[in-house]
């Protein structure tokens, strides 16, 4: 198929304002008469609030208002389970819980005033380990609940017990992962403006999911959705992180704005951001795998425990993705998987790029290498014996029969580009000196879009203006990944016009069609289809109008290169501009509302059987490392990443997603950990929480594999998240080859590599077998 706008490295439509400093992010907005809001956070991870005295703070010069839980019309919110407090009512449940918020004329006054708020606490014992929280007699984190369990998902396939009796080799291993901070470079920012343009409150800011934010704010204020208007600004990164924490901030700012009748701006410092915002879930994972001597997998039993922290947030859905994908892309006759989430008094955990997959992919791909070792096979051989092919049946009983299952292809391409086979042999020989090299691989399958998590549909408006310029609006929000560009390309492709005609509007919840959340790497697939659908409707309107006037068949008309042609004789009938003029004269309406609903899926909560996702993507990454065994330093030399994306709508932004995902995975694998001791967070800024810098970059080779999917626009699927889930296990496998020692705990920091255990965690030698 030949395209004119898609499948091309079109330049980003929002790059100009970003390179000139003209792009306005949340913190860059100033309104007349604006106040500054500042929250007071808890002093303890778990405590009863006996008394809050705001009198002194209220007298501080410049202070206009202070709110506490008393002032919040409805203090609980949440996308899945409504148990997150906007401000702590009777108890603080984690160290980042807000207690009061001050609005003052200057930032300084707001900061000074919160120091004057007197809070009397009664400290309570906390639970900081989800396994403790799971115990029958554990104290309750949420007193209104029966226990501390947030959720339990299951997959049951075949008879696992019997299958293990037939296995010739059985391996049992435990893996753990850590709390991780999203580390978007832009800290959270919100401005709430009261009574603007017929809305009760309009909210601007760095809002990942404008519609979830609107739901939360309207709910908290107890007003209808149409009274709350959310307008998204340029987002300084999100990676899943600017959702509930932003909803809470927006709700606080809205209450203050209505109370003072003035705009209220809140911008977090980095410390506040790290202290308050949810993290990636740490997991404890027990894996048991059985195989024949020939390396055929026969059974897998998996138990994963996720720390949900103080609130439910996204835990129910995050652990659901884990349960679906926990075995990895391997054919298994018998599977028993359980994933659990438990409340603790740790910081709460939520969505982060990958969403429940980086943890299990780390475990399952480490396990595959350990099993290969046990079977005296290469990691590649073992994988090739067991991976999914077309028509394979997944652990959930889903037959993969509606798209190309391209694992073999992505593996072959990554193996070739990395010289995996030669290098694996070379690095297996004994290496002289302190510096040892290793090469490791990881593969995965990943369900596209939301799956059985929630209803999955998206809408878009394409509107041709009188002069032929075009506006697009959708409820899916640009988070920096290039969505505006991709959607503009799709509209341009369908209408046969230059992308320069198109302007993609910021999401405005009072105008844009609600499209669910910009999560789960679903934007291109869902939103792209909605844009395509709208553009096709307009195309039909235009061709019918012309067919009528020129007495030709509308089916013979094509829109291409800014013109309308008769495809039979390739004759130009008129230009796109003339067609728009004609429509203006005839009163033909050239706007359309496009809608796309994802194909049906199914899921049985009891057995975990069904069709959890309507399609999947496949990827393989290979890491080459050098470990200094004298210092424990890991240098990642090279990463090869082969990903099947269905179709690359924009190959260059797609490569950007791969580079970015790999660097984030590198941080996850060897550097990053939010250190939490008894609920207190130790590293609250980038001087202590280290993320990869330009100096940590390995050579990265992205390989884009295209097997168009019948469901995607032009066959496109997704890329944002798969890039991130493979890096850590590939690196861990490479390190294991280099050092001869397996580390089963992320991150692979200096101490773990050098000593075999983590100093900061008070770890023991048992960290490593």
């Amino acid at each position: 198929m030949k395209f004119s706008e898609v499948n091309k490295p079109v330049k980003r439509v929002d790059a100009y304002e970003k390179v000139t400093g003209k792009a306005k992010f949340g913190a860059d907005l100033f309104f007349p008469n604006m106040l500054y809001g500042k929250a007071l956070h808890s002093k303890y991870p778990h405590a009863q609030i006996i008394k809050i005295n705001t009198e002194k703070a209220l007298t501080y010069p410049g202070v206009k208002a202070i709110i506490t839980a008393e002032d919040i019309p409805n203090n609980k919110f949440g996308v899945i389970i409504q148990n997150q407090q906007v401000l702590a009512q009777e108890e603080v449940l984690y160290i980042g819980d807000g207690i009061a918020v001050v609005a003052a004329e200057t930032k300084e006054a707001a900061s000074e005033a919160i120091k004057l708020i007197e809070v009397e606490y009664k400290e309570l014992p906390g639970i900081f380990d989800p396994e403790e929280a799971a115990k029958k007699d554990a104290p309750l984190i949420h007193s209104e609940l029966e226990d501390n369990q947030v959720v339990h998902h299951r997959v049951r396939k075949g008879d696992v017990e019997k299958a293990f009796t037939q296995a010739e080799v059985i391996l049992e291993r435990e893996y753990t992962t850590q709390f991780v901070e999203h580390s978007y470079i832009e800290p959270e920012a919100i401005i709430a403006v009261p009574y603007e343009h017929n809305s009760l409150v309009t909210i601007y800011g760095s809002i990942q999911n404008p519609f979830s934010c609107r739901n939360a704010v309207a709910n908290v204020l107890k007003v209808p959705l149409n009274k709350v208007r959310i307008i998204q600004n340029h987002m300084g990164g999100s990676f899943g992180g600017k959702d509930e924490v932003i909803s809470s901030m927006a709700a606080r700012a809205a209450v203050l704005a209505l109370k003072t009748n003035q705009p209220v701006k809140m911008v977090n410092t980095r410390e506040e951001s790290i202290l308050e915002s949810y993290k990636r879930h740490p997991y404890k994972m027990k894996y048991k795998v059985g195989a024949t001597k020939e390396g055929k997998l026969v059974a897998m039993e998996i138990k994963c425990i996720a720390d949900s922290g103080a609130y439910a947030c996204q835990t129910p859905f995050v652990t659901w993705r884990s349960v679906v994908q926990a075995t990895g892309p391997y054919e298994l006759p018998s599977v028993k998987t359980d994933t659990y989430g438990y409340y603790t008094n740790n910081i709460y955990t939520g969505a982060m790029r990958g969403y429940g997959s980086p943890q299990i992919v780390f475990a399952q791909e480490s396990l595959m290498d350990e099993l290969a070792d046990e079977l005296k096979m290469t990691p590649l051989e073992l994988r090739l014996k067991n991976i999914y092919h077309n028509n394979s049946i997944t652990a959930s009983g889903q037959k993969l029969d509606n798209h190309q299952v391209s694992l073999e292809e992505v593996i072959a391409k990554a193996v070739k580009a990395s010289n995996y086979i030669e290098k694996y042999i070379e690095y297996n020989k004994s290496q002289l000196g302190d510096k040892k090299r290793g090469i490791g691989m990881a593969v995965s399958f990943r369900g596209c879009s939301l799956g059985a998590e929630a209803t999955d549909a998206a809408g878009a408006i394409v509107a041709i203006q009188r002069d032929g310029s075009i506006l697009i609006s959708s409820g899916l929000a640009e988070n920096g990944e290039g969505l505006k560009t991709v959607f503009s390309q799709i509209a341009a492709e369908e209408l046969g016009v230059d992308i320069k005609r198109i302007n993609y509007m910021e999401v405005d919840t009072s105008v844009s069609p609600e499209s669910g959340a910009t999560v789960a790497s679903r934007s291109t697939l869902l939103g792209g289809n909605a844009v395509k659908n709208a553009a096709q409707q307009i195309k039909r309107t235009i061709t019918e109008m012309i067919a009528d006037k020129f007495k030709v068949k509308s089916g013979d008309l094509v829109l291409r290169n800014e013109n309308i042609y008769n495809k039979n004789n390739n004759q130009k009938i008129m230009s796109f501009d003339d067609a728009v003029d004609l429509a203006n004269k005839l009163g033909v309406f050239l706007s359309a509302y496009g809608w796309y609903k994802a194909p049906d899926i199914s899921w049985d909560e009891e057995t975990g059987q069904g069709r959890p996702y309507f399609t999947y993507v496949y990827g393989c990454q290979i890491a080459e490392v050098e470990v200094d065994t004298a210092t424990g330093q890991i240098e990642v030399l090279k990463m090869v990443a082969a990903h099947d994306v269905g179709r690359a709508i924009n190959p260059v932004t797609l490569k950007g997603q791969i580079y970015g995902g790999i660097m984030m995975a590198l941080g996850y694998g060897i550097m990053e950990e939010v250190e939490i001791a008894s609920g207190y967070i130790k590293n609250t800024n980038f001087d202590e929480y280290l993320i990869p810098t330009i100096k940590d970059m390995p050579e990265i080779i992205p390989i884009i594999v295209e097997n168009p999917d019948p469901h995607g626009p032009y066959g496109a699927k997704s890329i944002g998240e798969p890039t991130l889930e493979l890096g850590a296990p590939a690196i861990a496998n490479a390190v294991a080859q280099a050092t001869g020692r397996r580390i089963r705990h992320l991150p692979l920091n200096l101490e773990r590599v050098l000593l075999g255990h983590s100093l900061s965690k008070g770890g023991t030698k048992n960290d490593i077998l």
Binding site: E17, V19, D28, H182, I658, I662, M663, I694
Partner: protein, 158 residues
């Protein structure tokens, strides 16, 4: 509370400004709040992220660590001053052409660090580019396309 203000004169993007600033006022705040130059971003306030990078007397510095009261007579270049006479700086154009921008929050700081590098070293090696940008964090791009953008300019000005 009494705040002692001091008067300070310096040059921003080629224009002389005279301002009253508090003794503890950071250059970052002066730029963003007094001069409405919001292209310079704040990401950490402790000199670690580089989002606030500006060029001060030819050197890339984190403006969150500079007190405005101490830069009298100096010359400051911010992202808003890179575009001259309606023409983008070659680095800005290269960032667009090479897809070096995703969310764009780190971009102004990255461009200022890159600009400072090229002022002193018009033909940096890949390694020199990496060293110059070490203090600029980017969570989106994985840095690769940023390096490619800067390399393209370094080659073109040979």
């Amino acid at each position: 509370m009494k705040i002692n203000k001091i008067t300070v004169t310096f040059i921003v993007n080629g224009q002389e400004v005279t301002l009253k600033v508090g003794s503890k006022e950071r250059l970052l705040d002066t730029l963003r709040e007094q001069l409405q130059l919001t292209g310079t971003k704040e990401g950490c306030s402790v000199g670690e992220c580089g989002a606030c990078t500006v060029i001060l007397d030819g050197k890339a510095v984190p403006s969150c660590l500079i007190l405005t009261g101490q830069i009298g007579g100096s010359e400051v270049l911010t992202i808003e001053g890179l575009e001259a006479d309606g023409k983008l700086d070659p680095l800005q154009q290269a960032f667009i052409d090479y897809h070096a921008v995703q969310c764009g929050f780190c971009t102004p700081g990255m461009l200022m660090s890159a600009k400072a590098l090229l002022i002193h070293n018009p033909h940096p090696s890949r390694e020199e580019i990496r060293t110059a940008l070490e203090g600029n964090l980017c969570r989106c791009t994985g840095y690769e396309q940023i390096i490619e953008a800067i390399e393209s300019v370094a080659k073109n000005c040979q």
